[in-house]
């Protein structure tokens, strides 16, 4: 289970993978990573830079990069696109007022040349909240059906309970391939 378990899902010929996690501020990017490493999530602060988790086992290497999502930091995202093998885009499904903003940011990312064709996982996070929109509604708001240049997947999840995280990340790691 967790990030260590993901290494077993990596393709035999891909010894190293780089996963980039992006999304608006407060989407739950850091909490997803902490939950996947069984860490305490009660004191998670807004990320003012990056958090990297680097996992090594049996010669396999997985580097997961979580970059802060605040508006002032977003212009720096492009510095982290290079060599990405898989993109995770995290959405706060309970913040329906910001789904449009989230959709706009995702479309900009998908249009980036350095991220072209990169397998993309969208996490419809915070499903533990009553007010959360379902994965289908998030998918519609983000117009994911129009994505035609890459494999993609939407996964309902809760970073708080852990529900959906493993499934989503296993899909992504299994679909990563070196360009």
């Amino acid at each position: 289970m967790g990030l260590l378990g993901l290494l077993k899902k990596m393709k035999k010929d891909d010894m190293e993978a780089r996963i980039l996690i992006l999304g608006l501020d407060n989407a739950g990017k850091t909490t997803i990573l902490k939950t996947m490493t069984s860490e305490d999530i009660s004191h998670t602060m807004p990320t003012q830079g990056f958090n990297i988790k680097s996992i090594m086992q049996d010669g396999f290497k997985l580097n997961v990069w979580d970059i802060g999502g605040q508006e002032a930091i977003r212009p720096y995202w492009s510095n982290y696109f290079e060599n990405t093998d898989g993109l995770v885009y995290v959405v706060d499904s309970s913040d329906t007022r910001r789904l449009e903003e989230s959709s706009r940011e995702l479309k900009q990312l998908l249009a980036e040349e350095k991220l072209a064709g990169i397998p993309t996982l969208v996490f419809a996070n915070k499903q533990d909240l009553m007010s959360a929109a379902g994965a289908e509604d998030v998918s519609a708001a983000l117009e994911l059906d129009f994505i035609g240049d890459r494999v993609w997947q939407i996964q309902a999840c809760s970073a708080k309970t852990g529900e959906g995280l493993q499934e989503g990340m296993e899909w992504l790691v299994g679909n990563c391939r070196k360009g």
């Binding site: 260590l4 680097s54 982290y80």
Partner: protein, 148 residues
């Protein structure tokens, strides 16, 4: 600004805030440094010797930079009685100005039969971490490990 001035500004604006070590299987913190005085040449860490029985451990490091960096990298060595046992390299690349960042590395521990006993390791192991921007060294941090 000339190169020397820029390198000085980078060093002045760079600090390691804290480090910790966890049992990676459970996420449980086995040791944490708390707020650190980076001015010291060598720190000491008292780590519960149970950590030597963990199959996977993670080491986490939190650092801040006032200046923008374009090519940050780190070299981390585990040194036993002056001899390097392991060396890790990690390339961060770009660092956002005024940022605080963490790097957590999870590694498999040596097999128990290959592991030196705690009493032999204690006080003789130093974890040395050096940050570079490109080829310019920014800072070196040494932590001497005591297993208690």
């Amino acid at each position: 600004m000339d190169d020397g001035g820029h390198a000085y500004a980078i060093r002045e604006g760079f600090r390691i805030n804290w480090m910790n070590m966890r049992d990676a299987a459970t996420g449980q913190v086995m040791w944490e440094s708390g707020e650190w005085d980076c001015g010291q040449d060598e720190m000491e860490a008292q780590i519960p010797c149970e950590i030597l029985r963990c199959k996977q451990i993670s080491r986490e490091l939190n650092f801040s930079s006032l200046e923008v960096l374009t090519s940050l990298r780190l070299v981390q060595s585990v040194i036993f009685k002056g001899e390097p046992l392991e060396e890790w390299n990690f390339h961060f690349g770009f660092v956002i100005p005024n940022s605080t960042n963490t790097w957590q590395q999870t590694i498999e521990a040596a097999e128990e039969e290959e592991m030196l006993p705690a009493e032999l390791l204690s006080g003789n192991v130093v974890i040395e971490t050096t940050f570079f921007d490109g080829d310019y060294p920014i800072m070196t941090q040494r932590v001497r490990i005591w297993y208690v």
